[in-house]
């Protein structure tokens, strides 16, 4: 069976500090990978997606970047965090050529102080 991991689960970082959130998927190969941000009580905002190693597409210009160094690893980064980067970050995977359902990780709660 497939499993998706995210870490850390929670993170409190000062403004201006760097960020690295990691997501890994087990039990599948060549998945589509996605990073979402969810503000409190709000919907899902797609930040980045990747259809293969080294292939990153950005949906929203912002202070964040993403990388996919390995097939089942997706990393969200920032060089200098802003207060507005606070939120609940979700990673999701999807089988390429599948029925388009996405499987979400447990999320990372980021608070920028």
């Amino acid at each position: 069976s497939q499993t998706i991991h995210q870490w850390p689960a929670t993170l409190v970082q000062p403004v201006g500090s760097p960020l690295s959130l990691e997501c890994t998927v087990e039990g599948t190969s060549n998945p589509n990978l996605y990073w979402y941000r969810q503000a409190a009580g709000r919907g899902l905002q797609l930040l980045f997606y990747s259809v293969g190693i080294g292939q990153i597409s950005s949906e929203v210009p912002q202070n964040l970047s993403a990388s996919r160094p390995q097939d089942r690893q997706f990393i969200l980064s920032s060089k200098k965090l802003l207060l507005s980067d606070s939120g609940f970050y979700l990673c999701a995977w999807q089988r390429q050529g599948g029925l388009y359902e996405q499987y979400f990780g447990p999320g990372t709660r980021l608070t920028v102080t």
């Binding site: 996605y34 997606y49 390429q96 388009y100 359902e101 996405q102 979400f104 447990p106």
Partner: protein
């Protein structure tokens, strides 16, 4: 912008009642319509999904009704239980779009005992 409009934003239902959440879409190229359930502090999980070639899909107490001509679909939760209290997101996706889904803004359902 491809949009999926979801209503209501919040819903309170008595235990045993029927919960109904509605979504409307604009792009007729969408060909997959999933619903996700999210509990506080957790990632969304796929609940049920439908393709536009059928008008209804039922899984246990959860039913999707789909009206292709009206470009609308809805989630019905029969015999609603307090454990169903969560946020529900509708979504829509299409082929050739890197598997990306367009999400509604979510409906927070509270089922009172």
């Amino acid at each position: 912008q491809q949009q999926v409009k979801q209503s209501p934003q919040s819903l309170i239902v008595q235990k045993g009642g029927i919960s109904i959440i509605n979504c409307a879409y604009e792009n007729t190229a969408f060909d997959y319509f999933p619903w996700y359930q999210q509990f506080p502090g957790k990632g969304p999980a796929l609940l049920i999904a439908i393709r536009p070639d059928v008008s209804e899909k039922k899984e246990g107490r959860f039913t999707i009704s789909f009206n292709k001509s009206a470009k609308q679909f809805s989630l019905h939760i029969m015999d609603s239980q307090p454990g169903d209290s969560a946020t529900y997101f509708c979504a829509a996706s299409m082929r050739g779009n890197a598997g990306k889904s367009t999400f509604g803004d979510g409906t927070t359902l509270t089922v009172k005992p």
